[in-house]
Symmetry: C2
Subunit: 632 residues, 2 copies
C-alpha cells in the first residue's frame, strides 16, 4: 500500500480568505492574548516555585484536586501554538517569552530528569503516586509537543533537551522491567508526543514507550487499583466509578466501544493510529477502525462534536446525543481531527477526510470566537441563550488546543506519496513539496468553503509523472473537473473519495474542479431521539444553525417545511463576508391563545429563516441557538 | 347566587358498569389488601408504642426524617376509605379492625388531648417543635377525616371524640392569643378536615381554626424561621431551600403562582375554596380563582396531573411539563379533584367540572391498577418501560388516597340547590335526594365513559318544579337532548356548561342526552416544549395512550399522520370491555440503515396504532408508553 505522509504546515501557504483570516486572527490576537491570560490566571507564576506556594486562585473540585495540577500542559500547548506562529512570522517578543519559560524548566528539572511544577512546588514526595488522576504524564506530553514545535520553528534545542531528559526519566520509571512501575497515563496524550519525538529523532525507544503505554493500559491486576491501595485508598471509592472514564477498563486491543472522557479517548485513538502506521500492526489498525466505526456511527454530533454528558466529559449510550446538554468539548473535536488525520494516513479514504473536515470547520472551530479572544469549552447544539463564550476558563485546555490547530491547519491540507500528491482540504493554499525527489508547487485557488469552484495550477520543476488526488467530499453530488480544459469523467476516475489524475504534469497545467454546494438538509439516524422530527442544514463542509440575532421570532418557534427551498445568500455585512442560508419558514404562534390544551393545532405564521455557519454562533448579542430544526 | 351542595355519595348508587366495577374492586380487593400492607409494613405495629420502638424498616431520608413520621395519616386515610366502604356494604371484620385501632388511640391520647404515635413513642418532648417538616397537623387532619367518615358510616362516636379532643388541644396550642404558638401545618390537610368537622357539627370554632391556619401562613416574622432557631438550627439551612415548597413563602392571599409541593398546594386550595364558600369571603374566592387559572393554564398535565419534578414533588416553571420525568403524583390529582369539586360549589361552572372529570378519570384513576392491588405513585406520561406499578410504596400516601376517592366517587356526581339538581358526571347512577323538602329520584342510565348516550328518568315524589342541570362537557361538540321525546335546543339552553331544563317534572319524565364521543386530538400550548409537534388522543373524558403491549413496533417509533382517521373500536377482550382508538399510523424505520447522518429523511412504514385509556396502562407486560405522539 502506498505510504502517505502529511505535507507539513510550513510548506502550505494560504491565499484564500477563509483560513488567511482565521490564521491572522490567531497569530495577532489569540496567541498574544493567551499569554496575558496565562499570566493573569497564575499559570506563569506557578513556574516560579514560590515557597510557600501562592494560595489557590481557582476552586478545588469535589475530589480535592485542582486544575493547577495540569497547568504545565497549558504552558506546553501555548508554546506549541506560539511556535507554529513563529513559522508564519518570527516574533522576538514571543521567542523571548518562550526562552524565559525554558529557563524555568532548565532550572527546575531535577537531576534525574523529573520536572512538573505542581509536584516540585507542593508535594515532590508524591510524584508518580497517582497516575489515575494527577496528569503528570499528560503534562509531560504537552510539554514535549511544545518543545518539538519550538525546536522545529527556531532550531533551538534547549527546551527539547530538557524534555528528552524527562522522557528518559519516564522511560526508566515505567515499563515491564525489574523495579519499574507498570503505570500509564490517567489522561492520555504523551503517546502522541512520543510518536512525534520518534519521527523527529528516529529513536525507536520513543515509539516503544508509546506502545508500552497503549498495551499496558487496562490490564489486570489493575495498576490504578494497586496505586490507590498504595496511597491507602480504597480503589472502589474512585470518584469516576469506572476506568471506562480513561479507557482503562479493558486492554486497549479488546476495546470495542468508544467510552468515557472524550478527549482522553481521542488522544489515545490518535496515538494508536500513529503506532499502527509506523509499525504496520494490523491488529492495532483493526482496533482503530472498530473504534472509528463506533464513534462515528453512534456517538458523534453532526458538528463533529463528541461527548454527550458533562458528568464524565464524555460518552454515554449509543445515539444519546442531546443538543441542549451536549458537552462536545472543543478539545474533543480538535483531538478527533488529529485522529481522523492519522486514520487518513493509515488508509487514504475520503470518509476519514470527510469527518476530519466536518470536525475542523464545525465542532473545533466553534471553540474560537470571531475576535479570537473568546471561547466555547462546551459546543452545545442548542441553547436558550444562557450559553456564552468565555474570555477564559478555569480549565483553559480548549483555548490553546484550538489555537494550535488553527496555527498549523495547513498541515491537514495535503499529503504526499512517492508517486503522488493528495488534497484533502481546499481553501486557497499553495503547497511546495517534493515527489520522488522532484520539486513541485501546486497553487490551489478557491473561495472554499464559501464556494466550491477550485482551480489548481500544477508547477513541477520539471515535467513529472504523478497522481494528483483531489478529494471529492462525501457531501458533494455532481462534482465536475477538467484538466487544461479537457473534461474529466469524475465518477469513473474517483477512487475511495479521491479523484485520481495520474498523468505527466508540466509547469502551468491547470485543473478545474467544481464541487457544487447547494444548501442541503441532514437527518439523523432515527434512534437519535433528540433529533427526531428535526433536520439540520449544511452547505459544503459547514453545518449551519439558527441564531436569535437573525430572527424576529424565538428561534425555538421556527419550523422548517420540508418543501421550503433554501437559498445560499452571500452576506457581506456579516463576519467579513459569509454565505447564509435563507428561506421562508413557519413560526408557531405562542401568544395568540391562552388555553393549555386545545382541540386544534397551534397556528403558524410565515417567518423568515436565516441560518449562519455553526462555528460563528455566539459572536453577537447573546441569544438562543439551534442546529436541529423541527420540520413541519 | 344559588348555593349548591354536593349530593353525598351515600345517596348515589351505581348501575353503570364503569364505576360499579371500579368500586367493587376497591371494596373487595383494594381496601382489604391495604390493611394487610399496613400490617406488613409496620404501620399498625406503630400503634403499640413498644418500648423500645422497633428498628426502622424503611430508609431515612437524607435530612434524617422518616416516613414513619406520617404513618398516622396512612391509618387515618385507610379508616376513611374503609368507612366509605361500610356505606356500600357493612363488614364486621373491617369494623372490628377499626375498633381495635380506635382502642389504641383512646389509650394513647394524653390528658391534654395530644395524640401522635411517632412522637408519643420516640420523642414526646419534641412535639410541636417542627411543624415545617414533621407532619403532626397533617396527621391530625387525616385522622380527623377518618373519624368523621367512620362516625357517618356507623354512628359510633368514640374515634370522633378522640379527634375532637385533639382538635381542642390544637386550638388551644395554636393561634394569635397569649401564650399560643403562631404555627401552621408544614403539610396542609387539617384545614380540609376542620371544614368537614365544622359542617358536621356546626361548631364555627373549627372553621375559625382552619381560617387561622390559612391566614397565618407565610407571614413575617416567619414561624418556620423562629421554630428552626428554637431548635438550634439555622433557618437558611432548610433542606428545601424555599418556603414555596409548602406555599408559605407569602401570605396566602398574596399568592399568585401555584408553586412547591403539589399535594400540599392542592389540599390548601381545596380548603380555601371551602372557606370562601362558607364565609362568602370574596377576597379568598378571588385568590382561589387566580391560583386555579395559574394551575390549569400553565402547570397541569393533560391527564389532570400536577407536579413536573421529583425534586420538590411539585411545580417548576410555567409550561414545564416533561412527560418522561413527570411526577404527577396520584395524591395531587386526587387533591385536585377535591379542589375542583369545591370550586364548582363556589360557582357552578362547567369548566371546573370538566377538569374535575379529567383528573378523576385519568391522573387519579391511573394510580390504581386494574386488579386493585398495585399503584402508581408517579403518573408519568411517557415511559421507556422502566416505570412500573408498585404492590406498595415506602410512602403509601397515594394508595389510600385513590381508594378513598373511588369509594366515595358517587359524591362527585350531583349537586342540589333549593330549586334544582345538577349532574356533573355520568356513568349509570341513581340519585335519591330532596329538593325544597320534596323527595326526588333520578336514574341516570348510560355506559359512560364508553358511550355518550344517556337516559335520565326523573321521579319526584310529587310533580316538582325545578331546574335539572346536565353538564355538557367541554370536550363535547354537537350535544343533543330531548325531554319526553321533544327535542331541546341544547346550545340555546346551556348556561356556563350546563344544559338547564327548568320545568315541572312528573314521575317518569325522561330526558335523552346524547354526548357525541368521536375520537379527538388534543394539542398543547406551544410553549409546552415537551409536547411540541405532538398530539394526544381523547375520547369523551378519557385521555388515551399507546402501550407496547398493543404494538409490534416500538411505541416511540410511531407517528400519527394528521390526516389519519381514528376509529373507536370496542374491545371485549381487554379489561372487561373497553373502547380503544385505532388507526393506521406510520412507524419510523430504525433498522434499515446504519449511517448516523443522512441526506434523506428516515423512511417510514405503515403500522397499526391502538390507543388504550391512559388510566389502564401498566396493567399488562411491562413496556413503553406514551401519551403524546409525534405527528407526521
Amino acid at each position: 500500500m502506498t505510504r502517505w505522509q502529511p505535507v507539513p504546515f510550513r510548506d502550505v501557504r494560504f491565499t484564500g480568505r477563509f483560513w488567511s483570516e482565521r490564521l491572522e486572527t490567531v497569530l495577532t490576537r489569540t496567541i498574544p492574548s493567551q499569554y496575558e491570560k496565562l499570566g493573569e490566571s497564575g499559570i506563569l507564576e506557578s513556574l516560579e516555585l514560590k515557597d510557600p506556594p501562592p494560595p489557590l486562585r481557582i476552586p478545588r473540585w469535589p475530589n480535592g484536586h485542582t486544575h493547577q495540577v495540569f497547568w504545565d500542559s497549558d504552558i506546553g500547548k501555548w508554546i506549541e501554538a506560539a511556535s507554529y506562529a513563529l513559522h508564519h512570522r518570527r516574533d522576538p517578543l514571543i521567542e523571548a517569552r518562550i526562552e524565559a519559560i525554558v529557563d524555568r524548566f532548565e532550572a527546575a528539572q531535577l537531576p534525574d530528569g523529573y520536572v512538573n511544577f505542581w509536584y516540585l512546588g507542593r508535594e515532590p514526595h508524591l510524584r508518580w503516586t497517582n497516575l489515575r488522576d494527577r496528569h503528570e504524564l499528560y503534562n509531560a506530553g504537552h510539554l514535549l509537543e511544545g518543545a518539538i514545535a519550538y525546536f522545529q520553528a527556531t532550531g533551538r534545542r534547549r527546551f527539547l533537551a530538557v524534555m528528552e531528559r524527562f522522557v528518559d526519566h519516564i522511560r526508566s520509571t515505567f515499563g515491564r522491567g525489574e523495579g519499574q512501575k507498570r503505570g500509564y497515563p490517567g489522561h492520555q496524550e504523551i503517546e502522541i508526543a512520543l510518536m512525534r519525538l520518534y519521527r523527529l529523532t528516529g529513536d525507536r525507544r520513543h515509539l516503544e514507550l508509546a506502545l508500552y503505554f497503549i498495551d499496558e493500559r487496562g490490564r489486570q491486576p489493575h495498576y490504578y487499583d494497586e496505586e490507590a491501595r498504595a496511597r491507602g485508598e480504597d480503589p472502589a471509592a474512585y470518584h469516576q466509578k469506572t476506568y471506562e472514564y480513561q479507557q482503562a477498563h479493558l486492554p486497549v486491543r479488546e476495546q470495542t466501544k468508544v467510552v468515557g472522557h472524550a478527549v482522553r479517548a481521542m488522544y489515545m485513538y490518535a496515538a494508536m493510529a500513529d503506532l499502527a502506521a509506523e509499525t504496520g500492526d494490523e491488529d492495532l489498525r483493526r482496533t482503530c477502525e472498530r473504534l472509528w466505526q463506533d464513534a462515528t456511527l453512534r456517538r458523534m454530533y453532526v458538528t463533529g462534536g463528541f461527548g454527550s454528558s458533562a458528568g464524565n466529559e464524555g460518552f454515554t449510550a449509543d445515539y444519546d446525543l442531546p443538543n441542549d446538554t451536549a458537552y462536545a468539548e472543543t478539545c474533543a473535536s480538535v483531538a478527533f481531527v488529529f485522529w481522523a488525520h492519522r486514520m487518513l494516513h493509515l488508509d487514504l479514504e475520503g470518509r476519514y477526510a470527510d469527518l476530519m473536515e466536518r470536525a475542523l470547520y464545525n465542532g473545533a472551530l466553534s471553540g474560537l470566537s470571531w475576535d479570537g479572544t473568546h471561547y466555547f469549552y462546551e459546543n452545545k447544539l442548542e441553547s436558550d441563550g444562557s450559553h456564552r463564550r468565555w474570555p477564559w476558563h478555569p480549565c483553559p485546555c480548549c483555548t490553546m488546543n484550538v489555537a494550535r490547530l488553527v496555527a498549523s491547519v495547513g498541515g491537514y491540507f495535503c499529503s504526499v506519496a512517492p508517486d503522488g500528491l493528495a488534497f484533502h482540504l481546499y481553501g486557497g493554499a499553495t503547497v511546495e513539496t517534493t515527489i520522488g525527489g522532484q520539486g513541485l508547487r501546486v497553487e490551489e485557488r478557491s473561495d472554499y468553503p464559501w464556494d466550491g469552484r477550485i482551480v489548481l495550477t500544477v508547477t513541477p520543476a520539471v515535467p513529472l509523472r504523478m497522481a494528483l488526488r483531489l478529494r471529492i467530499p462525501g457531501w458533494c453530488r455532481g462534482a465536475a473537473a477538467a484538466v487544461n480544459g479537457e473534461v474529466i469523467d469524475v465518477d469513473a476516475r474517483t477512487e475511495r473519495g479521491y479523484l485520481v489524475l495520474d498523468r505527466l504534469w508540466s509547469p502551468g497545467d491547470r485543473v478545474m474542479l467544481d464541487l457544487p454546494m447547494p444548501p442541503g438538509r441532514i437527518w439523523a439516524h432515527p434512534l437519535v431521539r433528540a433529533d427526531r422530527g428535526r433536520v439540520a442544514l449544511q452547505r459544503g463542509p459547514l453545518i449551519y444553525c439558527l441564531e436569535a440575532a437573525d430572527h424576529p421570532v424565538p428561534v425555538a418557534d421556527l419550523r422548517l417545511p420540508r418543501s421550503a427551498a433554501l437559498a445560499a445568500v452571500p452576506r457581506a455585512d456579516l463576519f467579513g463576508g459569509i454565505v447564509t442560508l435563507a428561506t421562508t419558514a413557519r413560526a408557531i404562534r405562542t401568544d395568540d391563545r391562552e388555553d393549555l390544551y386545545r382541540s386544534d393545532p397551534p397556528s403558524e405564521i410565515e417567518a423568515p429563516l436565516v441560518a449562519i455557519p455553526y462555528f460563528l454562533w455566539g459572536n453577537r448579542d447573546a441569544g438562543a441557538m439551534a442546529v436541529w430544526l423541527p420540520e413541519t
